[in-house]
């Protein structure tokens, strides 16, 4: 197997899913001729034609709403929202329609729809090409929220998302699109939704992270020789509760790391779950390392994304407590 990056992995996965299943339709802004602004859908238009690879007008609620109608009536759309920052016009469709249609019809209609969207900072994208809005979606029952941190998981999780008969928000950490390479099997395979990955075994501190922050966390613990248990959640809704509680009980010291703002971030939910179920095991306060509660500044993105230094500072704080 050759090493490929996340864009190549996603592109190949989409290609294989489209080849295997005629119900799969890819739609979004510039996904066809341009192959997507990050090239994730490159070459698909030539292979599958414009009936299956749809360059849509510039309307996010139109993309998601239309895809939902397709999904209700037998197709398996995979929609792209060009940047997660642009998804908000479709927020009503996501929160009020697609996440609730199975429930509100008594389970008689379902929306097997995957919404792929790049998220996070680090590409000099300023306020509107850098956001990490996962909490908005994690707060909505009916959605499944996934974020891969490497090319291997990107494939396995995308295939699992495609097989799911419910809507999936598939958050792609754009900073890692080309910066991380991995060996990825040629064939289609699945990674179970709701299952975290243990990236490193350790005893002294638990670091629970996901998506765009995973390489930074791993670099930090490796460079500094930290005896850390590192967990990559991979699925944010539903989170792997067993993995979270197990590591908290094992080390008694927990740090959460994400790029999204701290207030009501995924780290807050992890902290609450641990406080409810493993308080007696804790040897130090749970510390959240997160993006700041400010809009994502163009000039200061390096300061806003949690750095190795900030992660190390949190590690020291809980170890020294």
């Amino acid at each position: 197997m050759t090493q490929i990056n996340m864009v190549q992995s996603l592109n190949k996965s989409l290609d294989q899913l489209m080849a295997e299943d005629e119900r799969v339709i890819v739609l979004g802004e510039d996904v066809g001729r341009d192959g997507g602004v990050f090239r994730v859908t490159d070459t698909l238009l030539n292979k599958y034609g414009e009936e299956r690879v749809i360059d849509t007008p510039l309307s996010e609620l139109g993309i998601i709403g239309m895809a939902a109608g397709m999904a209700m009536h037998g197709l398996k759309p995979i929609a792209e929202i060009q940047f997660q920052d642009f998804i908000y016009p479709a927020f009503d469709q996501i929160v009020n329609n697609i996440s609730k249609i199975r429930y509100r019809t008594g389970g008689r209609y379902s929306i097997p729809l995957v919404i792929r969207t790049p998220y996070g900072g680090g590409v000099r994208g300023g306020l509107y090409h850098s956001q990490s809005g996962e909490s908005y979606f994690v707060h909505t029952a009916g959605l499944t929220v996934i974020t891969p941190s490497n090319p291997y998981d990107a494939k396995g999780l995308l295939v699992s998302a495609y097989k799911r008969n419910d809507p999936v928000i598939f958050l792609e950490p754009k900073r890692l699109y080309r910066s991380v390479k991995a060996e990825v099997p040629d064939g289609l395979f699945e990674i179970e939704i709701g299952k975290a990955a243990k990236l490193k075994e350790g005893d002294e501190v638990s670091i629970i992270t996901y998506g765009s922050m995973v390489p930074t966390v791993m670099n930090t613990v490796e460079k500094n020789g930290i005896n850390a248990d590192v967990i990559d959640l991979r699925t944010l809704l539903p989170m792997d509760i067993d993995a979270i509680i197990k590591t908290a009980k094992k080390t008694g010291r927990v740090i959460t790391v994400h790029e999204a703002p701290r207030t009501l971030g995924v780290g807050a939910e992890i902290s609450a779950l641990i406080a409810e179920r493993a308080l007696d095991s804790l040897l130090a306060p749970i510390v959240r390392v997160a993006g700041y509660d400010i809009p994502f500044s163009y000039s200061h993105e390096d300061l806003n994304i949690p750095s190795e230094k900030r992660i190390m500072s949190a590690i020291n704080r809980v170890l020294e407590y």
Binding site: P57, G65, M70, N96, N97, Y103, T105, G142, D166, L237
Partner: protein
Amino acid sequence: MDYAEALNMGIVGNLSNEQTISAYKTAVLARTLDIKIINAQRQGIIGFHVPNQGQEMIQIAIGMLSEKDDFIFNYYRDLALLLQRGVPLSLIFDQMLSNSNDLQKGRQMPDHFSFKEFNFTTVQSPVGAHLPLAVGAAYSIKYTKKKGIVIATFGDGATSTSDFHAALNLASVYNLSVLFVCENNGWAISLPSSKQTKAEIYKKGAAYNIPGKRVDGNDLISSLLGLQEALNYVRDGKGPYLVEATTYRIGPHSTSDDPKKYRSDEITDGSENDPIRRLENLMLKMGVVDPSFIQSVKAQAKEEIDKTMDERMTIPPVDPSTMFDDVYESPSWIQEEERREMNDSD
């Protein structure tokens, strides 16, 4: 429009007396049902209702001209359309009463129906949000080469939403078979149409190269004539079409508001402009029926509705343990845990 004139035009030349009588019976049934539900709401038996009175004829015309394979993305004020497409009164009451026979398991407010067997998809409260879905369904029909078209209904308020404009644009860009029908009843809760838009609704499609037409939605013949022309266009695969049916909301927006606060105009049930009265007058004038027949239709409707409601009220409510089902195909640990917590807290 005069019935004879319509016949001369040849378009509804096939409309038999039996069909007209059948349409009339459905209209009376819908009206009687509406009155029954409002009374039940006042007695605390049904939680809520968006009255449908005044809009029966356009809805019945849509129902008459729709085919079994068509998908209907209706809105919350379409009671007569449901009846015309054959949804039984019993299922309507089951939903309104949230009993254990309700197909939606008691999860939606009254009037937010989904009847999959009749291709009524699903109704949401946020106005206009079903319209992009209607376009997606039409895309699916075209892609899979299935039979049928999509018919989407909505009120005048919906024409101000982003969803409406996105849906029209997309339906046009992909040349999809969607008939958009705006039931312009003059009001969006308290806002009159004149303040909703300064444009004419049926012309709004022009921005998307979609033809439009206004019909008198309070007149069965006019509605059928206008819809038939639009449907021919859509069924021929020429693309989407926008019909504005002018109609009239006799009642309040919902059982939760008092229209005296914001409107002084009034067409009451049974007045000369009431669409049901207009059809009655036409049928009487044409000698299709006599006054005693009219009385018997009304009496039969009342009897059927009273009987059905009594019967459906004996069905027990939905089991609360189903509350956590259908959030996903299979519940996650979160729903399972919360279900246990709820049961343990009893």
